[in-house]
Symmetry: C2
Subunit: 116 residues, 2 copies
DNA sequence: CACATATTGAACCTTCCGGTTCACCTTGGC
DNA sequence: GCCAAGGTGAACCGGAAGGTTCAATATGTG
């Protein structure tokens, strides 16, 4: 369990940092209602097509978006990444947080676990 | 609601990017069991004290950690940030994801909401 | 006081990020 | 075939990230 929480494989890294940008979060929300092209996605922002293309690529590499070339435009929609691992990490942290203790309490809590 | 999900105030940005680093996530887990000094936190990693100090600062600016100088060392513990907003964002996204539809279905789903 | 400990700040380095422009390629419409 | 539209790749740019070293500071200990 703890292993999974501290996994070094970079998946969580990529997902968290993909989500760390407000434009990318907005793109996800947008794609939640319907697929869109790069142009569609770029339109609401003061950003070039190339710029939006880069954001889409980051989301794609995180598994959050999947794209497909259709004619001269590119259809972007939500990918298979369900954010379950992110959710798990956050929940895990919240449990930690709720039980956060000062050193002494932590000591007794640990002892309790090994009592007989 | 949607406003909160696309908030531009940078809070989510700071939290997500603080969480995007594996060292920082490990530090949080570590602090979940007990407070620790900069040296304590640095010890498990191949990193300088100065390097760890910087990580702690990032976590502090995200509200995830709070520190206090005690004698010649600095006591670090979990901060007040409960990640509720992050949790809310993730849940929101998961709802989007579960209902992700192609354009046509989205249209009918919207109609259904306004039927009389 | 003298010395070790724990951290800190400043300066520096390299790589990544988010953005741009410009040139180019493919595709759709006439 | 010709032209416009949509996207793409390469090159560049300024600034932030993540790390270092080194010198300085403040605090315990004997």
């Amino acid at each position: 369990m703890l292993n999974r929480m501290v996994q070094q494989d970079g998946r969580l890294d990529r997902i968290f940092s993909a989500l760390a940008d407000p434009t990318r979060r907005a793109v996800l929300v947008r794609l939640g209602s319907a697929p869109a092209t790069i142009s569609d996605l770029a339109e609401p922002f003061a950003i070039s097509l190339t710029g939006m293309k880069k954001h889409v690529r980051v989301l794609e590499e995180a598994g959050l978006v999947v794209t497909e070339k259709v004619g001269r435009s590119r259809r972007c929609r939500l990918g298979t990444e369900r954010l379950d691992d992110v959710m798990a990490w956050i929940s895990f942290y919240q449990r930690l947080w709720e039980r956060r203790l000062d050193g002494l309490d932590a000591y007794f809590t640990l002892r309790k676990g090994t009592e007989h």
